[in-house]
């Protein structure tokens, strides 16, 4: 039994099907990459796992518990957290309040303090700017804030939706090395990326999503080496 088991989910927006019979797993300690071109259904998959959308068919299990139709706040309570696409910070709240919102479902003040310190260790920039209004942060800082907010939930599974979007090459490096760091402390990560090269490099395993269906899976190295993937996503 894996930590997260998504089996055969069909997700619709009205009558449009965005995800077709997708099956994927994330195990403890893993970084799993979900790659695919624009509109492939990556974000939809993450939103469905988070409970923001519900699949028409198929099941989602976390830690053996069926979470297919559970409300999003309960799923967060179970430890499944995502840093959503486009960051979606609370733009008119301070960085500190954004981080606190990440810990919304938790009650132990001491634990929250510990995690806050850890987030500030990972992202010293955020510490300098903790009283700044989040909407006025630079794009990279906003991404750090979004990841920090997700970490504040002390996730048992962290889902990141395009964390490298719109960042300079140096910051992209930083973000991916932080993903490694987060994973090294034992947090499994489900990573959605356009930047397939980088994502597959960090990931233990990966899935390739194409118009809603998973068309390929394998270890990060295998996928990186695969001719199809290279042609379609790595531009080689």
């Amino acid at each position: 039994m894996s930590l997260l088991e998504v089996s055969g989910i069909d997700v619709f927006y009205g009558r449009v099907q965005a995800v077709r019979s997708a099956t994927l797993e994330v195990d403890t300690g893993e970084v799993v990459a979900l790659i695919g071109s624009n509109g492939a259904g990556k974000t939809t998959t993450l939103r469905t796992i988070s409970g923001l959308l519900h699949p028409l068919r198929g099941t989602i299990k976390f830690n053996g518990l069926d979470i297919t139709r559970i409300e999003p706040q309960k799923i967060v309570g179970l430890g499944v957290c995502q840093s959503p696409e486009g960051r979606r910070l609370f733009t008119r709240m301070s960085v500190l309040d954004n981080l606190r919102m990440g810990a919304y479902t938790r009650s132990s003040r001491a634990d929250i303090k510990t995690d806050m310190d850890r987030v500030f260790e990972l992202f010293p920039r955020l510490k300098e700017r903790m009283n700044q209004i989040a909407g006025t942060l630079s794009g990279g800082e906003q991404q750090m804030c979004a990841m920090g907010r997700a970490l504040m939930a002390r996730p048992k599974l962290l889902m990141l939706d395009e964390p490298s979007l719109g960042l300079s090459p140096i910051l992209v490096e930083t973000i991916f090395s932080i993903v490694r760091e987060i994973n090294a402390t034992g947090t499994p990560v489900l990573l959605v990326e356009q930047n397939a090269n980088k994502a597959l490099d960090v990931a233990h395993r990966g899935y390739v999503l194409e118009t809603g269906s998973i068309v390929k899976t394998g270890s990060g190295k295998e996928l990186l080496a695969s001719a199809d993937v290279q042609k379609a996503y790595l531009g080689m």
Partner: protein, 402 residues
Amino acid sequence: MTTVRNFVRSNVRNPNAIAYFLMAVGALFFPAVVQFATGGSGDYLVGLAADGGIYMLMAIGLNVVVGFAGLLDLGYAAFFAIGSYTYALVASNHLGVTPIGHSLHVPFWIALFIGMFVAATAGALLGAPTLRLRGDYLAIVTLGFGEIVPRVFRNAGIWTGGVPGISALDVPTLPGWVQGPWIGQDFGWVPDFRFTSANLTAYYMLMIILIAFVVILVHNLYNSRLGRAWMAVREDETAAAASGVNTVSVKLLAFSIGAATSGFAGAFYGAKLSYVSSENFGFIVSVTVLAMVVLGGMGNIPGAMLGAIVLYFILFWLLPNAPGQMQGLASSLGLDWLNQSNPNGWPGIGEVVSRSKYVIFGLILVGIMLLRPQGLLPSQIRKQELTHEEPEALAAPRQLQA
């Protein structure tokens, strides 16, 4: 001593702290100043100011709904009406003339909380189905609710006294109250004190105590986990849900807390007037309170309070007195002919001003919004946004010139 000094130093540049301080001092000295200025006949003005406190309570409550949680409530006066009528039913002889046949005289403070509780419940019942939907629906539903409630009270026949309403409500009481030289009496303790129009200063003081109490309560809510959740929902509902906020119940809480404040103000006002009728709860009241919040500075408690003071002053003192003032001004300038009505349709300057009262009011509102689009006393965040000020510039200490 140093802690006091540090406290003062850390707040002298904080506009909110200054506003609280000035409002508190102003409120405490207002009765004495008025009595002095009018040579002891200022009771009417003190009473007028105390009634303004009712609007201030409503503005503080609506600020929770609109400012904190970002929910547009256009029927806020309905909860005021519900609080008033509930109080009237449980604290007067009225139930005796209804089919129930027994009048209730619940003690004042309990009746006040019953009024508040019923209003909060009405808020929850109205909000539960509506708050699941996205933003704009709430505005429409509350607009309708605000129109329906006064009509129901007007047409509920014997239960609500119809058009004339219900009179002879129990007045506010306290087990004791302090009288003193500040109202021209000997210092002393008055047991079983009743707040009637014979002692408006006491009513005024009670109003201030209630406002202070509500401000402290709301201020603590604002800084709590719930307060952060309200703002998060206001900013981005999906992201809030993704952070684990139960958005529906959080919005419902804001909505009910707002309704409770309005109901509380309504019950207190009914008790003070000792009378309720369905005339005083129209759309115009809801809009006035909303204007107080927006104009004062949405999402900022002292801002909403300041907005309430300014608009109340304009609506209930400046505009009613404007015709007389204009007539006086005209005659002192030797333009007496302006005061005479003539057959060409000129009704006299006083009449003209009096007829265009709401035009003037509108112009003043527009003027204030043009001069201070962020409100009179905006929350720091709104200010940063609307002025595009760099937050660093606010936070960084001033560089000394070399």
